[in-house]
């Protein structure tokens, strides 16, 4: 099976609120206020692919769109044991929306050998739009399943995908090729690469394309051409007026807490 995993590099979402700040444009975060990391859901997706390959064999390619720094994300993916890495270099200085991203990813996919399964993260830890997977499926004219947390191969041309939904899960059978966006679960926590593999990954080749190489317009990411354009960004302030429950003994405090909770419960 030929699997492609799309990986996005983002500002570390675990950056404490006090360190988080905006860029001067006030249209994105200050890219220097935290480290750059691979989006966790994309790593969940890569882990899902690795487990599939462990069980059934196959080949895993990884693909990332972004500035030159996405090489780090691809190197980490290679260290996790992806077979081949591809990057679309965005040196325009503009942030694409999900639709432009999907267009660029689809153009790159057109350059690759036939794929059986294409994975994205369910959403990214920075903008969190959660649109790219579905849009990519449409660009490619393929079926799509969102919120997938488990994939099984059944026979030569179909997969079983488990989707988390509002109250549990559903299993679907889908023909290959199929696009799925991956969400987190207790069995797709990304593996930690071994030191040796990290060193080896640094020597592996990465194929890099410019937008021009993919016959994409250099204007694709211009804000006025996007379908979804950020026009304002602000940092909301937490209220911070918590009434801490005090008391001489633990029992007294628990009693007061119970009273407060009961008052709300009674008012419903």
């Amino acid at each position: 099976m030929n699997i492609l995993v799309c990986l996005k590099q983002i500002l570390d979402p675990e950056v404490p609120a006090r360190d988080f700040s905006l860029a001067r444009s006030h249209l994105q975060a200050d890219p220097t206020c935290a480290d750059l990391v691979t989006n966790i859901f994309c790593e969940n997706a890569l882990e899902t692919a690795l487990q599939l390959r462990d069980r059934h064999g196959g080949r895993i390619s990884i693909l990332s769109l972004g500035p030159a720094s996405v090489e780090d994300t691809l190197r980490k993916g290679l260290a996790m044991q992806a077979d081949a890495a591809f990057m679309i270099l965005n040196d325009t200085g503009h942030l694409p929306d999900s639709a432009a991203t999907a267009k660029a990813l689809a153009a790159a996919i057109g350059k690759l050998d036939r794929l059986d399964l294409i994975l994205t993260g369910h959403e990214s830890g920075d903008w969190g739009a959660g649109q790219t997977g579905g849009l990519l499926a449409e660009e490619l004219g393929l079926p799509f399943i969102a919120f997938v947390d488990e994939i099984e191969e059944t026979g030569p041309d179909r997969l079983i995908l488990r989707q988390q939904n509002d109250s549990g899960w559903q299993k679907f059978s889908a023909p290959m090729p199929v696009v799925a966006s991956i969400t987190n679960s207790d069995h797709n926590l990304p593996r930690i690469p071994k030191i040796r593999d990290i060193i080896l990954a640094n020597r592996k080749p990465i194929t890099s394309w410019s937008l021009g190489d993919l016959e994409l317009s250099p204007d694709l990411f211009l804000p006025e051409h996007l379908l979804v354009r950020v026009t304002e960004l602000t940092i909301p302030q937490a209220k911070g007026d918590c009434a801490f429950i005090e008391g001489a003994t633990k029992e007294e405090k628990i009693g007061k807490l119970a009273e407060k909770i009961a008052a709300i419960a009674r008012s419903i």
Partner: protein
């Protein structure tokens, strides 16, 4: 000749949750008024005529879609159905809820209609011929205003925390819309499993007791369930607790999980990461039990107790059972 009226379509494709449906109707109605458009509500039907007339009180037109294939598990059918409606009615916007099916369909529907898609909208406005929305970004550390430069704007909203629709003096028209063609199903549903312990959906819950990594294992979640029973509430969890397998994933609240809006959200052993807060910020009151007085969760709390959960849960439950007897 009259001006062609523009429309806003509200797609109620998972109509079982009352609160979410009401909020979604409200969001669609208000947007249609801002745009000066007709409000068309699409729902499955017409088996339940009572709920259809309920919908008509918040809409100019209600389209009840009739199709043997139209069960909510089949994204393909809804996608094709809404695509066809979208191309016939040429709406300024299509508003969907935050159920999994709606979220899954949103980008694909927008792409098929040549429009723009976005999710998790908290407010919707119209400016200079475009729809703009606000949404939390960077895991809740920032709030963005986003302009949808493509039409239609296909947007899923935090339905349960939206105000319901205003009742109209004269109800809108109810029409049936036959969608007979059964599309070729590339994807087949094999099996459905509901997580144990979920009565109401979390989005509808009035009281939620929630646990995180600080609970230390799966057993304390059993105690949380008992506490929820006493309070006639629901149980939820942080992502960390779900990833550890201590609670099922349908309990996850936050950026990636459910967005809840109860009267009381009681968080135990949850630090209050911004991604978690994103799911609970619409709660009327937030309270926390945490051993760390500096835990960020307290910044969002109305009241809080700095204590070890394990020492608190037993006596707290007893006391509440007594008070609420």
């Amino acid at each position: 000749m009259s001006e062609p009226v523009s429309t806003v379509i509200t797609a109620l494709i998972s109509p079982t949750q009352e609160r979410a449906s009401a909020g979604l109707m409200g969001a669609g109605q208000r947007l249609s008024e801002t745009v000066g458009a007709e409000h068309v509500v699409v729902a499955c039907g017409p088996e339940d005529s009572e709920s259809a007339s309920g919908l008509a009180h918040g809409a100019d037109r209600v389209l009840l879609v009739r199709s043997p294939a139209l069960v909510r598990d089949r994204q393909e059918v809804w996608l094709q159905c809404l695509t066809r409606m979208g191309s016939e009615l040429n709406p300024a916007a299509i508003v969907l809820g935050n159920d999994a099916l709606s979220q899954e369909i949103t980008p694909r529907l927008a792409h098929r209609l040549g429009g723009a898609s976005i999710g998790d909208a908290q407010t919707l406005t119209a400016e200079e011929g475009h729809i703009s929305i606000t949404r939390s970004v960077y895991g809740g550390k920032a709030m963005a205003k986003v302009k949808l430069q493509g039409t239609p704007a296909v947007v899923w909203v935090r339905a349960p925390s939206m105000d319901p629709a205003r009742g109209r003096a004269t109800p809108g028209q109810i029409e049936e819309w036959d969608f007979a063609t059964e599309p070729e199903m590339k994807i087949q549903l094999l099996e459905t499993q509901m997580d144990a312990g979920e009565g109401d959906r979390l989005e509808d819950a009035r009281i939620i007791v929630s646990g995180g990594r600080g609970l230390g294992g799966p057993e304390p979640f059993e105690k949380l369930k008992e506490l929820a029973k006493v309070l006639k509430g629901q149980t939820a969890a942080s992502r960390a607790a779900c990833d550890l397998g201590w609670a099922p994933h349908s309990w996850q609240v936050g950026q990636t999980g459910k967005k809840v809006a109860p009267q009381l959200y009681l968080a135990s052993g949850i630090s209050g990461a911004s991604q978690h807060i994103m799911g609970i910020a619409d709660s009327k009151a937030i309270a926390a039990i945490n051993t760390d007085p500096n835990a960020p969760i307290f910044k969002h709390c109305q009241f809080g107790l700095v204590e070890d959960f394990h020492q608190v849960i037993g006596p707290l439950q007893e006391k509440l059972a007594e008070l609420l007897a």
